[in-house]
Symmetry: C2
Subunit: 194 residues, 2 copies
DNA sequence: GTCTATACCGTGATAGAC
DNA sequence: GTCTATCACGGTATAGAC
């Protein structure tokens, strides 16, 4: 019952190609011609599968957002001390970011020129706020330092996590993801001095 | 002897406008028409001041790179224990990033589609390596934890610092920059737990 | 499902008047 | 120093054959 490898495109298999090109050249820097070359079909054939460039973007960022918001529904993100939930969410963010690397990468680079992009930015802000709440509660419970403003700390932690898309490239090593997640959790919680 | 406010453009005053638009719309998402509208002059008038869009990009990223590399020439970045030099450089990076915010923002978003962009990326990597050396030495001197790989830690710290351009906006408060620099130094060195 | 051909528009850049 | 007019090109998207 496994679908055998087809030599024709589905919206999803086309998306896989498109997202890669978007991430290499930037969304605005990518033309339908670039996509056609990368997919090995003509420009017009792309329109048979998707309505246009923006649909590809929408599908991609949707997938990334689903992955991220999914974290907040997982039991360890909802139960227990805020500091523990926060640690769990930070670790899972790294894991999801790596598992869905090209899609999250694209999401994080969206600027807001089109309706789709503005929608993506809004959902990102929503996610950020949810995590900021967690950090706020952890501070209220005394598990997080009080001398750095919660909003500021949240932004910096997100900055560290999100920056992974700028350099992480999958390699053969099993456990590479785990190593990155561990490093982020360690640095976020106890810093360089350890 | 102060140059009075002129109502005509210089390459630099035009750059100021252009960089702002580049950062709002993305470099590739910005047309000469967009720049003309923002500057309040016609497209062709822009070509009187600069050779084209790419020259504006080159001027902008050059300015950002000068600011960053300048840090490494400052005495506190060259003398003393590696850990102290590292702390100094981290603080100064935040300060320069904020002082030259729009220019550094543009630099950090460059993707590599043109020659200018690839040159900028190369110089960035060079700067990264210089700071990684500092971290490596601090680890060798025992002032930094050994359970997180130096290369990985450098990337994550850079990620945190560079992410400031995504949200920092100047306000009236004096000391806001200092507050951000303090927070970054605190989080980088001792983490959320403090 | 993919192609070639093409419509139509916005792009970066230039010419030349004022 | 700025303008209007214009160019050649490449952009997204569509038509219609196979």
């Amino acid at each position: 019952m496994t679908t055998p490898r087809r030599d024709t495109y589905t919206p999803d298999s086309l998306l896989q190609v498109a997202v890669q090109v978007f991430n290499e050249r930037g969304y605005d820097g990518t033309s339908m011609e670039h996509l056609a070359k990368a997919a090995g079909i003509s420009k017009s054939s792309i329109y048979h599968h998707v309505s246009g460039k923006e649909e590809l973007l929408r599908r991609a960022v949707s997938r990334a957002l689903e992955g991220l918001f999914g974290i907040l529904d997982e039991p360890p993100a909802r139960e227990g001390r805020a500091a523990d939930r926060l640690e769990y969410v930070v670790r899972r963010m790294v894991e999801v970011l790596i598992a869905e690397l090209p899609y999250v990468t694209l999401l994080l680079r969206v600027r807001g020129n089109t309706g789709t992009e503005r929608w993506a930015l809004e959902r990102r802000r929503e996610f950020d706020h949810r995590v900021a709440e967690l950090l706020k509660n952890a501070a209220a419970e005394g598990d997080v330092r009080g001398d750095v403003e919660v909003r500021l700390a949240t932004r910096l932690v997100f900055g560290m996590i999100n920056s992974i898309v700028e350099w992480y490239r999958p390699d053969g090593r099993t456990g590479a993801r785990r190593e990155v997640a561990d490093a982020v959790v360690q640095l976020v919680l106890t810093g360089l001095r350890g």
